[in-house]
Amino acid sequence: MGVVQSAERRRPWEEKNVVVAGVLAYLIPGAGHLYQGRLFKAAIYFFCILGTFFGGMKLGEGAVVYNSPNNKLGVSLQFLAQVCVGLPALPAVQQAKRAGAPNNQPMHELRHPLAAPFTGQLVTSGPGDEIHFGALEGRIELQPANESGFADVRGKFTGTLDGKPVDLDLSGGFLIDRPIGAGFQRKLSCGVARGTDLHPLASQTIRGSIPRSLIDAYAAPPDAATLHDLHGRLGKFYDLAIALTMIAGLLNILAVWDAIEGPAYGFGDEVLTADDEAAQVTASASKPSDPSPATGAATAPARR
């Protein structure tokens, strides 16, 4: 082509296996370039792409990267872009299968004792149409119980109600969200045992959430109720969060291409041969009115 390419910039890229570099660049943005010794670009791709991806995850409360299990294609279009980020998005494939299992359903009974931090509200209903809410924060402990042949739940809540210490005995009316699902909080509600100071026509329930483990929450698909709740609370920020994770995936395509093929406009240190220099001198000599002097074209091939 008439261009001699300097070995200095190109050597790290040429000496390493491009397949390994490409695979590493896909799995972790920047890892392929780190493998090739291109540290500056590795840092750019790593922080920019993963920063955008996890920024979107944070904005969407961890419920934006998932593969919809009900799609006939087997993969949702948004996930097609998100999966290009690599390892951070790949767990969604397995999580979709786990979430679609028949036993992954909301539960009205407990099989094992449960103890976890709880945040939510104490809802007092009645008498009549009165409803009162109080903020609860503390710890909940529940055990399965069997009374008169019926499975039930008994337990205790210890913490604060509107900032004041409180102990509540819990009994009946138990409902907990499915174990595997989007979001790092798992909804739970349970009835409160009737206290002596409660009106005979009133009832109390605690409604809130307990933490869901990372393995059960990360990249799991949300159900319809969770999606409705997220759209209601976050609005357009939820859509923005999905867009950020998709953009991160699409940017990683550029990073993988750079790892395999090198930079699109060259390594920037190409040097023209004597023939090309002579051609440039001839071209500038044929334009006497051109005020710009003939310049070394060391960077000319890289310009677009």
């Binding site: 910039r9 291109r38 500056f40 670009k41 750019i44 791709y45 920019c48 792409i49 920063g51 955008t52 944070k58 904005l59 976050l234 609005g235 357009k236 920020f237 923005l240 950020l244 953009i247 940017l251 550029l254 990073a255 291409w257 750079d258 090198g262 930079p263 699109a264 406009y265 060259g266 390594f267 920037g268 240190d269 890289a302 677009r304």
Partner: protein
């Protein structure tokens, strides 16, 4: 806290990230990457600002 911020402000860091990654995929020399990324960022933000101004003018008085 994040939801209190106007959603349009998120476009600035997004434009910066896109400019950096795109420029890094085109060039190899660090100073060239940074220069081209800065230029692309100013172009993106300038075009967006112009579009916002046009939309604001069209919606004036509505």
């Amino acid at each position: 806290m994040l939801a209190d911020l106007n959603v349009s402000w998120y476009l600035l860091p997004l434009a910066a990230v896109i400019s950096l990654v795109y420029s890094a995929s085109r060039y190899e020399l660090p100073d060239r990457i940074v220069r081209r990324a800065a230029r692309l960022f100013v172009t993106i933000v300038g075009c967006m600002a112009a579009l916002f101004a046009v939309l604001w003018l069209f919606s004036f008085g509505l």
